[in-house]
């Protein structure tokens, strides 16, 4: 584990090397646009500022009857999409987690959208994605503890309830494996987003190099598939968070679970 971290940090260092001492701001030259953290904060500020202004405008259109503000209607649709996803994945109590998941969706989505126009973006940077994944997994733990209590949540890690001698033998092993897999969720969430967005950049660069001899920017033809990636990756990030939440917050009683799933289905149906 430690060895792997050392290796990946060496990898990152070797990626950073070409910039040398002049690594402030974004390097938009050849190779990878790996920005310093001040440069990253500029992009984060663009994303967060845009979202803040849009949401503030949309909030003005809120009223008790119906929304006439176009922006409010747009965000209502986004909300319905996220709510549908949460209720469909987690069950009827999934509506409680919509604010956090919608925040993540908008952050990842606008970060990905920024990656279409700029050489780098918050979500094309491993550190930002790792932070986002840490927040996501920490939130899952928080909700798990809130739903089942601290010991109930830790009990989830120990696998099924076994009796007597078997519990002493197997439960610690399952516990360790589950904790490791919980930690690996950070890695998988962040690497997936980073690999998809940054990989899109590198593919575009490689195709531009291909067409450089005849002055045709082949990389531009990748835009449609990158646009698909933008939507799908934002959705997958939130969907996986919702799946982790559903794994952690479900209650052990069986009849209640079935009832919840049924109620969730009934809620989903009219929105389609």
């Amino acid at each position: 584990m430690g060895d792997w971290i050392t290796q990946s940090s060496q990898l990152i260092a070797s990626v950073e090397e070409p910039h040398g001492a002049d690594s402030h701001g974004g390097d938009h030259g050849d190779g990878h646009a790996w920005v310093s953290w001040e440069g990253l904060l500029v992009y984060v500020a663009i994303v967060v500022g845009t979202l803040f202004v849009l949401m503030a405008q949309a909030k003005k259109g809120l009223n008790n009857r119906f929304f006439t503000n176009k922006l409010t209607q747009l965000f209502e649709q986004v909300y319905l999409f996220i709510e549908n996803m949460c209720v469909g994945t987690i069950g009827a109590h999934g509506r409680r987690y919509v604010p956090m998941i919608m925040t993540m969706w908008m952050l990842v989505f606008s970060g990905n959208l920024l990656a279409l126009f700029f050489p780098t973006s918050p979500t094309a940077d491993l550190s930002f994605n790792l932070g986002l994944a840490l927040v996501s997994v920490a939130y899952v733990q928080y909700e798990g503890i809130r739903a089942n209590g601290l010991f109930g949540h830790l009990g989830h890690f120990a696998g099924p309830k076994l009796g007597g001698f078997l519990a002493l033998l197997i439960s610690p092993i399952i516990f360790v494996i589950e904790v490791v897999s919980e930690l690996m969720k950070n890695v998988s969430l962040s690497l997936r987003l980073f690999g998809n967005i940054d990989g899109g950049h590198r593919a575009a660069e490689a195709m531009n190099t291909l067409g450089a001899g005849i002055y045709v920017p082949f990389g531009a033809f990748l835009l449609p598939i990158k646009l698909l990636t933008v939507v799908v990756q934002a959705m997958i990030f939130c969907l996986l968070t919702a799946v982790y939440l559903s794994l952690v917050t479900h209650h052990d009683d069986d009849h209640g679970h079935g009832h919840e799933a049924e109620a969730g289905h009934a809620e989903v149906a009219p929105a389609h």
């Binding site: 792997w4 290796q7 994945t89 997958i236 996986l240 989903v268």
Partner: protein, 70 residues
């Protein structure tokens, strides 16, 4: 020399992941065509499976260069 091995590793990973993604798409499309009313649920499950499979290829990109340095 290591560059060649690196390329081979990525290529092999891409080969396996391509087969895996194709099989997921195949299964999902067959399921959707047989049961169009379940398209929403099948799509969600398909996207999750796609995400897990393509992570393998991305992990190869990160791990192969690191393991070659030993």
């Amino acid at each position: 020399m290591t560059g060649h091995i690196f390329g081979l590793g990525i290529g092999l990973a891409a080969l396996g992941v391509g087969i895996g993604l194709g099989m997921i798409g195949n299964g999902a499309m067959q399921g959707m065509s047989r049961q169009p009313e379940a398209i929403g649920k099948i799509q969600v499950a398909m996207l999750i499976a796609l995400a897990f499979v393509e992570l393998v290829c991305l992990l190869t990109v990160f791990i192969v260069p690191g393991s070659l340095k030993i």
